[in-house]
Structure formats: C-alpha cells, structure tokens
Amino acid sequence: MRSSINRPPTPDVDEEPEKEPTLQEIINIKLIESGEKEKLMELLRERLIECGWRDEMKAICRAYARKKGRNNVTVDDLVHVVTPKGRASVPDSVKAELLQRIRSFLTSAAI
C-alpha cells in the first residue's frame, strides 16, 4: 500500500483541530500575555520557600534517591513521589493568597 502523499495540513498553534480553545486555555493565554502568570509563579515560589515547603520536598526527594540509589532516579520518579505530598502540604494561607490573586485577575479580565 502506498502511503498517502497528501499529508493533512499541520495544525496551527491557535486552532485546535478537535475543539475550540477551552476557557481554561483562554485564561492561560491571558495570564501569560499580561505577565500575571510570571508574577503569580514568583509569588507562589517565594511563599513556598518561606514556609519550608520546598525544603520538605527536597528532603523527600533526597530520601527517595538514597533508597533507590542516586543513579537510578529519574525526574519522572521524583515528580510522582513528590506530587501527592506536595499538593497536600501547601499551607492554607499560601493557597488562599494565591487563589485571591487569581480570582481578582479573573475579575479584572472580565471572565
């Protein structure tokens, strides 16, 4: 069977061949374009470092690497190890602050 020489057109970045950009994606784009996403990331990073969350996660990774042998760990492994604990141990105040910022952004972006 001859493989088709008519390739389907390369999908554009903006146009999803499956569906319209979701609300989530629109918001993401707006966040990035306005520079707010960067600010939020910095804020979250700073808060998580202050409260010791980052050190906790690093300790978990270190313990895992020690157990598994430091040359046998992959980034994937570490992400899977850290994600559940990481998500659960964000302090409420940090989470509330970030959510407040995001919500006011949403309001100002009229979504």
């Binding site: 690093k58 690497a65 020690r66 430091r70 570490l78």
Partner: protein, 175 residues
C-alpha cells in the same frame, strides 16, 4: 472555600483552583528536576557520606577478618575498648549437676550432663524418661524453676523437686 463574588461562584473558583494547581505543578517539577540534578551529580554531600560509610564498613569487615567481636576475637578490641579471649573463661556452676564449669565449655558439658550424650543416657535413664514426659522435651526446664518439669529441678539450692505442679502457678519463680 469562600469565593464571595457572584452567587454562583463555583465555576470561577474552579477556574482559579485549576490555575493554582497548574502553578503548583510547575513548581513541583522544578523542585523535582533540581533534586534529580543534585542526586545524579552527587552534589548532596550527605548522600555521598552515607554511601562512603557503607563502603568503608564493608571494607573493614572484609579486609580484617578478625574484626568481628563475635567470631575469632583474639586480638580485637570491641566498642568499649575491651578485648576478649577466644574462649570465654569465666567459671560458674552448672545448675544441673552443680559442677564448676568453664563458660566456653558449657554447651558440650550440658550435652553430657543433661542426657543427650551416650553415657548420661545410660546412667540416668529412668529419670530422663520422667523428665521428658513432664517437660515436653524441652531441656530448658533445668533452670526455669517454675516450669512444669518439676522432677528435673535438681538445683542444689534446696528446692525440692518432688512436689507437684504448684511451681507452674507462680510466674515469678520460687526461691
């Protein structure tokens, strides 16, 4: 969750939560990637130190065969700085026959003394049978004054071995 804007605040809250989770995931990946780098490049000195310690301890064990204080401890110093002779030389009394025994020779002595050896079996045959019947075959009963092997309790401190099961009732032993 207190989203106090519109009456129906859940879609917006949901959106906000998802944005937050997105941010958090990115940061998690950052942390994971940094830890991965540290682990792989061996920058974490603690990890290294542990591995070194393991290696050293294995080496020490292999290179110096007399380093174990249990086996073959001729010239070896234990953690308190004491040395021990190869055969334990403390002398005490056998609680079965009452003879002074060198501790390092206690096990072979017990074999003969308690009936596992050929000679002992010949001499004390009847009492051995009675003993095993009561003690369910465990030779440990010799120095357990409250066990049910009352016949075998021939300790020289004056306990009478002939009086029934009463010793079994006192869990803390009878003088």
């Amino acid at each position: 969750m207190s989203a106090s804007n519109d009456g129906n605040s859940s879609p917006r809250s949901q959106l906000a939560s998802r944005c937050f989770e997105d941010l958090l995931d990115s940061i998690i990946v950052d942390v994971a990637s940094e830890c991965h780098r540290i682990a792989r490049l061996g920058l974490d000195r603690n990890l290294e130190e542990e591995e070194e310690e393991l290696r050293l301890s294995v080496q020490a064990r292999v290179a110096d065969p007399s380093s174990s204080t249990e086996a073959n401890s001729k010239n070896v110093v234990d953690i308190f700085g004491l040395t021990h002779p190869a055969i334990a030389d403390e002398i005490f009394e056998c609680m079965n026959c009452g003879r002074p025994i060198v501790a390092g020779r206690f096990a072979p002595h017990l074999e003969k003394c308690m009936g596992k050896g050929r000679k002992a079996r010949k001499v004390t045959r009847s009492s051995t049978i009675a003993r095993t019947r009561h003690s369910r075959g465990s030779p440990v009963s010799v120095y357990a004054p409250y066990s049910n092997a009352t016949n075998s309790n021939r300790a020289p401190n004056g306990t009478t071995g002939g009086s029934g099961e009463e010793y079994a009732d006192y869990p803390y032993g009878v003088p």
